[in-house]
Amino acid sequence: MNNVLGINIIRFIALLLLQVVICNQINLFGFINPYIYIIYIFLFPIREERLVLLLSSFILGMLVDLFSDSGGVHAAAAVSLAYVRPILLKSSFGMLYEHQSIKFTTTDIGNLITYLTLGTIIHHLILFSLEIFNISNILLTLKKTLFSSIFTILLSVLIIILFSPNKK
């Protein structure tokens, strides 16, 4: 139990630092940045209290906002992702989720990618709609969502595989 708490706290801090120190400075082609801090929300243990997840994702989003001077856009997107997470889990893992027996590091890679893709697109769509905050720029919003999502998904999958504890 303590171990789980420790891992999540370390993950929280490490992803936050990685995000603000490296990922926010990439600006590929001038505007594409990956938002990898959402891995924390993806990998949060399923059996833990949902309220804790909601609160901690809010704080994580708020901290990212603090560093990038963006009001509350990351907080809003992160909280929404944390809220819809059970639906995503159910649709991408199916029966495994019903039995509460998913281990993210041992599941089928296809399921994992579905889960990450759905979650990332929802998060990025909310993030960029709020950030641009202008209906007439909807094309820009969609463009940013698409490119950043691809970048984020690639990086997330790599990071999750790289740091998974079981060595095959």
Partner: protein, 273 residues
């Protein structure tokens, strides 16, 4: 009463989500209204510390370009010095008459951003260096933005690459003024709006600050005209300005304090009443 409690307990996840989401939304909306992103900004102890560490590493990679910029600026200043009008040599200046109009402070850019629609920079000077809201920020090439928030040791700058930013600017060859905005597309171009149709607009001409706003002195370079078009109504021009500054690569900046700003504002207020 029992039912209300039951309802709250049953829907506690949704209610918490709603609460947190509305807080975030409120902060977002507040940050989109000009000048009032008071609570969540990067001028604070935590973010300043992290960005400071980053900056001290990052600086070494930019030493060469920084040196080039300094050398270029020195050359420019020396040219000005040696080509000064000789009659100013002999002007008698009583020290009690010379009142400085602008106080200049040097600052390092701790965080630069240019990919968002609303870009904000963080500098390593704050209230302790008597930096306040609405001071101008420039480099040796041209303007950067206006100080937005300050904490003890840090300050945030509303960049000219910000959809909320509106800065008074004019054509160099005439006195036609307009306001400088950004359409959030390219970090190398800003737009000069509401320029009168009588203005002699030519591609390649220089745009500089107008000095009407009491933030920037008159005549600081902004950029050159790369293209222009008439508005739909045909009364005004919208001009695309290519910036002198490379906003994606900012190292050291100058903060300008207009020492007469208070007097100017007081005067304007009293004549408005």
């Amino acid at each position: 009463m029992q039912q209300i409690f039951n309802f709250v307990i049953r829907n506690k996840t949704f209610l918490l989500f709603l609460l947190l989401f509305s807080i975030a939304l409120a902060l977002t909306i507040q940050s989109h209204s000009y000048h009032r992103s008071k609570f969540i900004n990067s001028a604070n102890f935590l973010t300043g510390g992290v960005y400071g560490t980053m900056n001290s590493v990052d600086q070494y990679f930019n030493l060469k370009t920084e040196n080039d910029i300094l050398a270029k600026e020195n050359k420019q200043l020396r040219e000005q010095l040696y080509n000064l009008n000789p009659q100013t040599d002999s002007t008698f200046i009583d020290s009690s008459y010379t009142n400085a109009h602008y106080k200049v402070t040097i600052a390092d850019v701790y965080k630069n951003s240019y990919a968002l629609p609303n870009n904000i920079l963080t500098l390593n000077k704050g209230k302790n260096d008597s930096i306040k809201e609405d001071f101008g920020v420039i480099t040796s090439n041209g303007i950067v933005g206006i100080i937005d928030n300050t904490s003890k040791n840090y300050a945030t700058v509303l960049s000219i690459l910000n959809t909320k930013s509106r800065i008074n600017a004019k054509l160099k060859r005439s006195n036609h003024i307009g306001s400088l905005t950004w359409n959030s597309k390219l970090p190398s171009h800003v737009q000069l709006e509401d320029v009168s149709q009588y203005a002699p607009v030519k591609i390649g001409d220089t745009i500089e600050t107008g000095g009407e706003s009491s933030i920037f002195p008159k005549g600081i370079g902004i950029g050159t005209i790369s293209s222009f078009e008439s508005d739909i109504s045909g009364d005004t021009y919208t001009i695309q300005v290519k910036l002198f500054n490379d906003m994606t690569n900012l190292g050291t900046v100058y903060i300008l304090e207009n020492l007469n700003r208070k007097e100017i504002l007081n005067l304007e207020n009293s004549s408005n009443e």
